[in-house]
């Protein structure tokens, strides 16, 4: 037993000393958690996004600025004020400088939108206020606000959607001020959440279990198979076998070292998730612990399976890479996956990562089950069984002579 623990320690310390291992299995999940949470965790939140917008008001008659145009302009300019200290304004609005030719400004800004330098150009056209007044009195169609965007540009699309929402709010307010909109007759609107969760899940709470499993999966697939195969190819394993150490002891020690690595990964991710990004998900629940252990053991078994199937370390890494990407992306670790064609659906259906992720998220209340609960346990267990069978029959612990 002492030999097993010594080997476990050796395997753990060696992994920590290896900068590459340290980065890919410990730092990379942390980095990915941080980047994705910083980007998607704040999506749609006030003060976290900023779009460059150009605004031109052409509605100026002989008597000065149109009243409705002034209101619209005011509303958009209010979005260029940061909503609080340390927050960013939703729009950074550029308007023609005093004395600048507005038609020229529009031409320049249209070009800037086309080239992606400005998200959208909002144009309040000539006669806008008169048209709005006619619309308000029911004698004309709505006054049109021109929004010039670039269809292929995601940022432009987002900014245009914000303009749509502003226009909807503006409509209600204008109609209310005119005494036409009766708030007491407003259509009641409610949102209900479908499923057991009952409330929207924060992105970091959705992502964190996925990142933990990604860490376990990548470590199992690459570190386990890589260490075995490289040690075998470089004849390091052969040196062990001339000592009294038995294969089972080596296997036990190596596996314990891997599990210690998983514990380290888990602890760091939870700490960063909780204290860095305010994750509130609690892993200290019996079912969640079952899935964490099941995940770690399944991916350890998969690592050995890859080591059994590969003839050399290089081909082992190629197999691991080939398996890694489709399985990781299609198992819903980073985003929920739905509506796949049959051949990709097959990958999802056989992927143990998919089942462990569903089970873990379900146990934590951050995901819904799309398969029966028993399957989330049986499929990973099946993979462990299959891996053991293959490993026992095929894994070579020394280079072929």
């Amino acid at each position: 037993m002492k030999a097993v623990f010594r080997l476990a320690r050796l395997s753990f310390v060696a992994a920590l000393r290896e900068k590459e291992t340290l980065f890919w299995f410990v730092l990379f999940p942390l980095l990915l958690l941080s980047i994705l949470t910083l980007v998607f965790g704040q999506l749609g939140q006030e003060g976290k996004m900023n779009f460059r917008v150009a605004l031109a008001d052409l509605d100026r008659g002989p008597s000065g600025r149109g009243q409705f145009a002034a209101v619209v302009e005011e509303v958009f300019l209010s979005l260029s004020v940061p909503p609080g200290p340390g927050k960013e304004p939703l729009f950074t609005v550029r308007q023609p400088a005093p004395g600048e030719d507005e038609r020229q400004f529009i031409l320049e800004q249209t070009e800037a939108v086309r080239l992606g330098r400005v998200a959208v150009l909002i144009v309040i056209p000539e006669g806008f206020s008169a048209a709005a007044l006619a619309a308000l009195s029911g004698s004309g169609p709505p006054a049109l606000l021109g929004v010039y965007g670039s269809r292929g540009d995601a940022a432009s699309g987002m900014a245009a959607t914000i303009v749509d929402q502003v226009a909807a709010r503006l409509n209600r307010e204008l109609l209310t001020v005119a005494g036409l909109y009766r708030s007491e007759e407003a259509t009641a609107v409610r949102t209900e959440w479908v499923g057991d969760t009952g409330a929207p899940v924060a992105y970091v709470d959705f992502l964190l279990p996925g990142m933990v499993l990604m860490g376990f999966f990548v470590a199992g697939l690459f570190s386990v198979s890589g260490t075995i195969l490289f040690s075998r190819d470089m004849k390091i394993l052969r040196r062990y076998w001339v000592t009294p150490l038995r294969v089972l002891q080596y296997f036990g020690g190596f596996s314990l070292g891997y599990l210690a690595m998983c514990v380290l990964q888990f602890a760091l991710l939870v700490l960063v998730g909780r204290f860095g990004f305010g994750a509130s998900v609690t892993f200290a629940q019996p079912l969640a612990v079952v899935y964490l252990v099941l995940g770690a053991v399944t991916f350890l078994a998969l690592g050995f399976l890859v080591a059994s199937l590969a003839k050399t370390a290089q081909s082992g890494m190629a197999i691991a890479n080939l398996v890694n990407m489709p399985v990781m992306f299609l198992s819903g670790l980073f985003f929920p996956v739905a509506s796949l064609p049959l051949f990709l659906r097959v990958i999802v259906l056989v992927s143990p990562l998919n089942y462990v992720a569903e089970g873990l998220r379900f146990s934590l209340g951050t995901g819904q089950l799309t398969v029966p609960l028993t399957l989330t346990l049986l499929v990973p267990l099946g993979w462990i069984g299959l891996s053991v069978l293959v490993v026992v029959r095929r894994l070579r612990w020394d280079v072929a002579r």
């Binding site: 980007v39 992606g116 670039s150 749509d164 409509n171 259509t187 479908v194 992105y203 929920p336």
Partner: protein
């Protein structure tokens, strides 16, 4: 010349035998395109909202009219609310709407974390319009969207494809130096090669040529797959495309040279290059627009070469516009980095000894 041809052929064979390099330069973009294309519906992109509607009682013409006028919303009707809820939970439908003539009840899956905001926006838009129409009112202000960008029917996915192609060129170039050359150095192969009459420049040119061809094949396969499988429309300017792939790969080799010079152990250079490439992949606007990132990440993004390579690749494939001056500057910048650092690469990296 014959010697150079032999060298070129050898490098090509070495590349084809290197399973990892082959995977990352040729298969990685293809697998990526297949996954993202199928997961997010190809050219239609993730902007489409599938709305499941269940009406209690008689059909409502106002509701029908409003729903049929919603851009980016595809409506699916249900006769049973339980079935609708089941389909929302199974993610077959993004948003549910139950209408009993008085209350608009939206049903949403709380675990659809990334699309949650877009679904809520769609719900708000529909509710606001129904609310006005039911009071017999018409909007005072309406938004008229005018597309001033390219007329191609591309969406989010059509922007991702050139992004992946740019990444592929970056990776190919970086690994040519920080992988292949440093590997040769570490294994002592360079020492042996450089004592032969072969010049280091010839060796470098042969490696660069192989990578350029591979980069071109890889990006072209990616482009073809996206066009054929997912009907993504491109308007490729083949002349500029060829020049840009060349510039991007050479520029990336220049960056690989910087890494190889900075990293003391030759073997660590490929690790640093892979790490740098992965970080850039997430922060250079390949998957999501830079505008939705926090300010400090936006600043970081502006410092990454991949950000500009993505811009250039989108331009030459015809999915986004770019001013010709900016494109010329990006291309020239990449070429300057590539050619400018070539002598450095030749002198300091492709040299005898471990450093």
């Amino acid at each position: 010349m014959k010697a150079f041809r032999e060298l070129l052929w050898t490098q090509a064979r070495v590349f084809l035998r290197d399973k990892i390099a082959l995977f990352f330069t040729l298969f990685f973009p293809v697998v990526f395109i297949l996954i993202f294309g199928f997961v997010w519906g190809g050219a239609e992109g993730p902007g489409m909202v599938t709305l499941g509607v269940f009406i209690v009682g008689e059909p409502d013409p106002v509701l029908d009219e409003v729903l049929s006028s919603q851009a980016g919303v595809s409506v699916q009707t249900y006769n049973d609310v339980a079935r609708l809820e089941e389909d929302i939970a199974r993610r077959k439908v993004g948003l549910g709407l139950v209408w009993d003539g008085r209350t608009l009840l939206f049903l949403q899956d709380p675990t659809r974390v990334q699309e949650g905001n877009a679904l809520a926006q769609a719900a708000r838009g529909i509710a606001a319009e129904i609310d006005l129409r039911r009071q017999g009112l018409t909007p005072v202000v309406a938004v008229e969207r005018v597309n001033v960008g390219r007329a191609l029917g591309g969406g989010w996915f059509s922007m991702v494809v050139p992004g992946i192609m740019a990444f592929s060129a970056l990776f190919s170039g970086l690994l040519a130096v920080s992988g292949r050359i440093t590997q040769m150095k570490e294994r002592g192969l360079l020492d042996r090669l450089l004592v032969t009459p072969m010049s280091s420049t010839a060796l470098l040119v042969s490696i660069a040529t192989v990578r350029l061809v591979v980069g071109f094949i890889s990006t072209s396969i990616t482009l073809g797959l996206a066009a054929v499988l997912f009907r993504v429309e491109f308007d490729v300017n083949w002349g500029l495309y060829t020049v840009f792939v060349l510039a991007a790969t050479l520029g990336s080799m220049g960056l690989g040279t910087v890494i190889a010079l900075l990293v003391r152990r030759p073997g660590s250079a490929s690790t640093v290059a892979s790490i740098a490439a992965q970080i850039m992949l997430f922060l250079s606007g390949v998957y999501f627009p830079v505008e939705i990132m926090p300010a400090f990440l936006r600043a970081l993004s502006a410092a990454f070469p991949l950000t500009y390579m993505v811009e250039g690749m989108r331009y030459v494939t015809g999915v986004a516009d770019l001013s010709p001056t900016r494109f010329a500057l990006i291309t020239a910048g990449l070429l300057v980095v590539g050619f400018g650092l070539f002598p450095v690469l030749s002198r300091y990296v492709v040299s005898v000894g471990r450093r």
